[in-house]
């Protein structure tokens, strides 16, 4: 189904990002001879993004199909975003949790939450999360010698 709304949102985000990059790049210095320096490349990228964003916005205003992804149709957008929000929050707390409970319990906990949110049974989720984390942990620390 055509979704110009999705196209408008996409275009808006692209334009906002381009404007942010353009104005932020004004703080970068020029070369001693007055020619553009570190700001040249980001501003060129920002200009390209702005033009592309305006083109996408024009297509959305015309009601043309945005070509939104068919493979990512959610049963319920709200629930989908909520599930994602929970996992991102867990990852946001990652540095603090590892300091309190340690690396393996933290990563196991995050993996467990993902499995539960994907409708796996609690016991299977716990076993897989813990087993998977231990396997990866041993792989890195013992086989590769990478401290974690």
């Amino acid at each position: 189904m055509m979704k110009p709304f999705v196209g408008a949102i996409s275009a808006g985000l692209v334009i906002i990002l381009s404007l942010f990059v353009w104005f932020y790049s004004r703080t970068f210095p020029s070369l001693p001879d007055g020619h553009p320096g570190p700001g040249l490349f980001p501003r060129a990228v920002a200009a390209g993004m702005f033009i592309a964003g305006c083109y996408l916005a024009l297509r959305a205003l015309r009601g043309e199909p945005a070509g939104a992804s068919q493979e990512l149709k959610a049963e319920s957008v709200g629930k989908g975003l909520s599930r994602i929000g929970v996992v991102l929050l867990a990852l946001g707390l990652y540095p603090f949790l590892t300091g309190i409970v340690g690396f393996v319990p933290t990563v196991s906990g995050i993996s467990f939450i993902v499995a539960l949110l994907l409708k796996a049974k609690p016991l299977q989720s716990a076993a897989t999360a813990l087993g998977g984390t231990l396997f990866v942990y041993l792989l890195f620390t013992r086989l590769l010698g990478v401290p974690l």
């Binding site: 996409s10 985000l13 692209v14 990002l17 990059v21 932020y24 970068f28 210095p29 070369l31 020619h35 320096g37 570190p38 040249l40 490349f41 980001p42 990228v45 390209g48 993004m49 083109y55 996408l56 945005a66 070509g67 939104a68 992804s69 990512l72 149709k73 959610a74 049963e75 319920s76 629930k79 989908g80 599930r83 994602i84 996992v87 991102l88 990852l91 946001g92 990652y94 540095p95 590892t98 990563v107 995050i110 993996s111 993902v114 499995a115 994907l118 409708k119 796996a120 989720s125 897989t128 999360a129 998977g132 990866v136 942990y137 890195f140 590769l144 010698g145 990478v146 401290p147 974690l148």
Partner: protein, 494 residues
Amino acid sequence: MELLSWKALLALLLGGLYGSLFGAIPGLTATLAVALFVPLAFFLDPIVALPAIIAISSLAIYGGDVGSTVARIPGTPASAAYVEEMYDVARRQGPIYSLGISAMGSAVGGLIGTLLLIVMATSIASLAARFSSFEYFWVAALGLTAGIFASGGSSVKALVSLLLGLLLSTVGIDPTLGHPRFHFGSATLLGGMNYVVAMIGLFGFSEVLAHLYRGYAAGQQTIAPTSDNSIQQFYVRPIRLIIAKRWLVLRSSLIGIFVGFLPGAGADIASWVSTSFQKMRKGGGQIAEQENVVLAGTSSNNAAVASAWIPALSLGLPGDTITAIVLSVFLMKGITPGPLFFANEMALVWSLYATFIIANVALLPAFGYMTARLARYVIRTPLNLLLCVITGLCVVGAYSMNNNPFDVWIMAGMGFTALILRLGAFPLAQVVLGMVLGPIIEQNFMVSVAIARWDLTAFFARPVALILMLCTAAVIVFGIRSRAIDRDDRDAGM
């Protein structure tokens, strides 16, 4: 040869096994398989990591056909191009035969691609030894431009993805004055965007988020019946078919080689182009035509896997997402593809060639047969539990780069960004292309303008630079024209 060390051979075997099983599970792609392996590859010697990555990508592309065969669920985007035909062949003549066509076709296509890789990569690298910053600038520009039009969807969206990748490449210290850019006070970002962490997020964690967004549903349980005489079904009959259809296999392989050579394209697009071309041709009854389509798709996609390495090795231009991921690991380890790569890393080059040959001659037939026999079990692997393990691997992989928790946040942020891009149908491969080519194009531009004292006509003064510029312009003109024709055809068909 160092490839014959027990570590490298073990990596090759384990990589092939991992790739064939991973690709067979619907919902998991060859790119994801490589992205999840990257944190391990980073800590391994390149002479061990490279064979594993090549084996993973070659076998995972084949593995994607397993789901198509037994349950009509393509395991990879490349397999989706001929899923209907593959399933019908499996239904009428047995899944072992169907997968035999896939494995043998992939092996032959992969060998043809490898042959051209060996011949062309060295030749192009010798030519590139004479390149200056002006030529390298235009090579990168050509790569970026081709990447815009090589995507199957909207060119404007591919451009946006590319520009986003270029923007991400500017994070850190600029190459001209050493001025920090877009670090927002973070010491971690001051060192630049860690490629490995970004790849894990873009391709690994985003897959987890995509399934969380979509909501999990158990896969189909449709299983086709197995057949007896599995050796004959898997090896003998498909090889006879390939001999009978040798010109079809050669043509499809060449299509795959050409498409795989284009930066940002890869096996997925090669498969679609080749099968579309075959479907437009007439000949043979319905069953024979279905076999032809499967053969066209499988030979082209593995040929593309090999040919994507031609620009990657010789010029540092990634031919597809997998080579882009590998190049980013090389760059982090101080290995620079291009003419110097052939001068300084010849052992690695020969290891790569030998791996492709072994993967296509031995691993595909062997692991392919094993995967075919195990197909009905592999496809029942519960994806939700696998994604739980993948989450753990993404977190550990990101953290292990620098033992810095901030990298886990970057990984999560890139994963979320990739999800947003996928929701809007923006391609991800072009983001990676931009990240890898961004430093090349910016650095060579700034060096060139310094040499030319900002006289921009110097960019067209050298003959090879001028030719490359004209090629870039031609890609833009033909790309726009081809998209305009596609749009007219679509409008006419409505």
